[in-house]
């Protein structure tokens, strides 16, 4: 696989760092998650294929275990507030002196510097600080964060993986690792670069008022509509030729419409007109009616519905896990060295403590000593 042979030490965190670890694992890396001792449950829901070793990081011997692991690893990912790893004696100065080829990824909300560094926060705060949150939401409603997708996962975990991969790529030329400072605030902004770069495009941002523009629920032809059976359809008919097909499918003509497609003053009225029409048929009827026409009208599926949709099934977009539920298959698809195609199980905390220590050269006596002194725990 693409990352076969790459060893990753992931210090357990909430969701962003686990996402980065999962992506690397999905593409073949050997990911070892360092869990805390004295706990039985993990919050990591992105743990498939990882191995778990439980270590008391607060003890010097525990820190030494992590040092030894990282000196023989390629990547370390840590999710703590700036300074915490340093306090544990595991800062990049120390670990990279020992292993200059180490890629040391630091995933935080606000980054390793700046006045907000170390302030507690969550996705919604990072998104707010990035400027992006101010653009999301309907007219006259408060800004709405899309759960925790944009900062935690897009600008956080995924961008962290991207940074790690880039550093690994650079290392093939230079032999040297480096620190990757991933700030979810910056990540969210960067992923949304287009928002800043497109501000002078009249077509996209006619009003600069949230919820009254082309792609932010202002336009009737780029919106969602409820169907007769309480489900929804997505409409993305921006281009004139697609818009014409949309009208046709809805049984409307240009003459019926209160105004031409881009008359923004008539958008609220057009939205109401479309709403009324969509409410007259069920989701299934609309799917059938629009078929595979280029009207850019498609169903809004539920999480379960997406997994079993005929298109997604044909693509194997979702994998089934041992509980019978579905999870997305790694993206993108690489033709020669794809990611996993089936779900490996989540580790229990400490399930691989002994195995991992042995792999890193600890003798049986050394391992027994560590367990006896509560430096590490096994399942």
């Amino acid at each position: 696989m693409a990352l076969t042979g790459i060893r990753v030490v992931e210090i357990a965190g909430l969701a962003p760092a686990p996402m980065a670890g999962m992506i690397l694992s999905d593409f073949g890396a050997n990911v070892i998650r360092i869990d805390r001792t004295k706990q039985t449950e993990t919050v990591d829901r992105l743990a498939r294929g990882k191995r778990s070793i439980a270590v008391d990081l607060k003890s010097k011997e525990g820190a030494n275990v992590v040092k030894r692991l990282s000196s023989n690893s390629d990547v370390l990912i840590e999710p703590y507030r700036p300074g915490v790893m340093e306090r544990l004696g595991l800062g990049p100065d120390i670990l990279m002196k020992d292993n200059p080829a180490l890629v040391y990824a630091r995933l935080s909300g606000f980054g390793q510097s700046g006045p907000y560094k170390g302030v507690a926060g969550h996705d919604i705060n990072y998104l707010a600080t990035s400027g992006v949150l101010s653009t999301l939401g309907k007219y006259k409603e408060n800004p709405i964060a899309p759960i925790n997708l944009v900062a935690d996962f897009a600008g956080g975990g995924t961008l962290c993986s991207l940074g790690v991969l880039m550093a690994l790529f650079n290392r093939t030329k230079t032999g040297k690792g480096q620190i990757v400072d991933v700030s979810m605030t910056e990540g969210a902004a960067y992923v949304a670069s287009w928002l800043w770069r497109s501000q002078n495009l009249q077509l996209c941002w006619p009003t600069k008022i949230r919820g009254r523009n082309l792609l932010d629920t202002g336009a009737p032809f780029y919106n969602t509509y409820e169907t007769q059976d309480g489900k929804y359809m997505a409409v993305g008919a921006i281009e004139p030729q697609f818009y014409a097909l949309l009208l046709k499918g809805l049984g409307l003509t240009e003459e019926n419409m209160p105004g031409p497609q881009i008359d923004i003053r008539k958008w609220p009225e057009m939205q109401k007109l479309f709403s009324d029409v969509f409410a007259k048929k069920t989701q299934a009827e609309w799917i059938e009616l629009f078929g595979d026409s280029d009207a850019c009208v498609s169903p809004i599926l539920t999480l379960e519905g997406a997994a079993t949709d005929v298109h997604n099934e044909a693509r194997g977009s979702f994998m089934r896990n041992e509980n019978g539920s579905y999870e997305p298959r790694p993206a993108p698809l690489l033709s020669e060295t794809p990611g996993i195609t089936e779900v490996k199980s989540d580790p229990n905390i400490g399930e691989h403590t002994e195995e991992v220590l042995q792999e890193f050269g600890y003798s049986k006596d050394e391992i027994d000593h560590l367990i006896k002194n509560d430096v590490v725990e096994k399942l």
């Binding site: 593409f27 705060n125 997708l149 897009a154 620190i179 287009w194 999480l303 044909a314 693509r315 698809l333």
Partner: protein, 386 residues
């Protein structure tokens, strides 16, 4: 820079392909955009910083030959067309990888290269609708609301495509071979949202999972949402953990007796209203003074301009200033030894680099003149635009 020496041929598209190209350019790749001479829609120049532009007539056999030659010397190709279009041009992966087996051929589409929707037109909102994620986004009593085109076009699209390219480049250092990347925005957006699928049955996250906007992180809870201030700005509240929630209550000047318990779900609407009233009593900057440096997870909702001005972001140099004096995000993440660009390179004029790029792959001036004469390629210099 990380991608110095990596040559990317990007076939011009709308947003996802260009964003992937921009990420690669930002980290040092030489990205050449092939724009079509007979393009119906003018290319929005929004994601072209640092790229070079050549105009080709892809409907002309000679134009295809030029494209072929460019791809033979390339490391990466990014194309945004519906499945089959590149094949029709004679530029499909089988063709190009035969002559250049180290080529990384990235195909950026909404629905992917296969499946019943693969030939259908669509946009971000359609792709996001297919993932299941869109059904979870929106306020109570409302309809699913797509977060602009961030999740499918950019996160699950361009970003995922760029990541696939880096993965393939890394793999190529071992195998010496390229491969085809099928970057589907439906797949990409779903994958980024993996955690949502994994946690959908967790009662603390989705207590009323079937309904929009009534859960922990989807604006259902009073301590994970935005609130309007006296001056019609907003504050973001993300006080999930009990100790942060306590600081939130304190900062709002409330006591435990004033509000229902944090996890009293039935009273969440009531608590929300109480919070909303309190937030409306002060301006955004007054609230910032109250909460700055406090672990309450309460922060201002900054505008696009405001974010560029904010002291934290200024210290971090999160934003660069372009030649128009406007701010745009600096490439993330920060690789300390080999970072991305730290200034904004200009957008190319369409066709600005036609001649220089052709020369780089061995065309003589007279060959180039012939191609221009026959409208196989078009060249625009900055001068000719004045």
């Amino acid at each position: 820079m990380i991608l110095s020496g990596v040559k990317v041929i990007e076939f011009a598209g709308l947003a996802p392909g260009p964003f992937a190209g921009m990420v690669l350019a930002d980290y040092g790749a030489d990205v050449i955009v092939i724009e079509r001479t007979q393009s119906a829609m003018p290319r929005p120049p929004s994601l072209a910083r640092g790229k070079r532009s050549i105009m080709l007539n892809l409907k002309d056999k000679e134009g295809i030959k030029v494209a072929n030659r460019l791809c033979q010397n390339a490391d990466v190709l990014i194309e945004p067309f519906r499945p089959g279009v590149m094949e029709k041009f004679g530029l499909g992966p089988d063709e190009l990888l035969k002559n250049n087996p180290k080529l990384i051929y990235a195909r950026m589409t909404g629905f992917g290269q296969s499946g019943s929707y693969s030939k259908m037109a669509g946009h971000d909102i359609n792709y996001l609708g297919m993932t299941g994620l869109l059904s979870k986004l929106g306020r109570e009593g409302g309809k699913p609301t797509a977060p602009l085109n961030l999740m499918a076009d950019f996160a699950g699209g361009g970003l995922m495509c760029a990541m696939g390219v880096i993965l393939a480049l890394l793999e190529r250092t071992k195998s010496g071979r390229g491969q085809v990347i099928d970057a589907s925005m439906v797949d990409g957006a779903s994958y980024i949202g993996s955690w949502i699928y994994q946690t959908k049955d967790a009662p603390y996250l989705w207590p009323i999972g079937d309904e929009l906007g009534k859960n922990l992180l989807d604006t259902g809870s009073p301590f994970y949402d935005t609130y309007q201030t006296k001056d019609n700005k907003f504050m973001a509240v993300g006080a999930i953990e009990p100790q942060f929630y306590q600081q939130l209550i304190n900062g709002l000047g409330l006591t435990d007796e004033d509000v229902p318990g944090q996890v009293d779900l039935d009273k969440w609407p009531e608590t929300k209203k109480i919070f909303a009233d309190v937030f409306r009593s002060k301006t955004q900057s007054e609230w910032c003074k109250v909460f700055d440096g406090v672990d309450a997870c309460v922060t201002p909702v900054l505008t696009l301009e405001g974010a560029a001005q904010h002291s934290h972001n200024q210290t971090r140099k999160t934003f660069l200033t372009n030649e128009d004096g406007d701010a745009e995000p600096r490439p993330a993440p920060l690789l300390l030894r080999t970072p991305g660009v730290n200034y904004v390179k200009p957008n190319p004029v369409t066709g600005q680099h036609t001649e220089v790029v052709l020369k780089e792959v061995g065309y003589s001036q007279s060959e180039i003149d012939e191609l221009i004469k026959n409208e196989v390629v078009k060249s625009e210099t900055v001068k000719s635009m004045l």
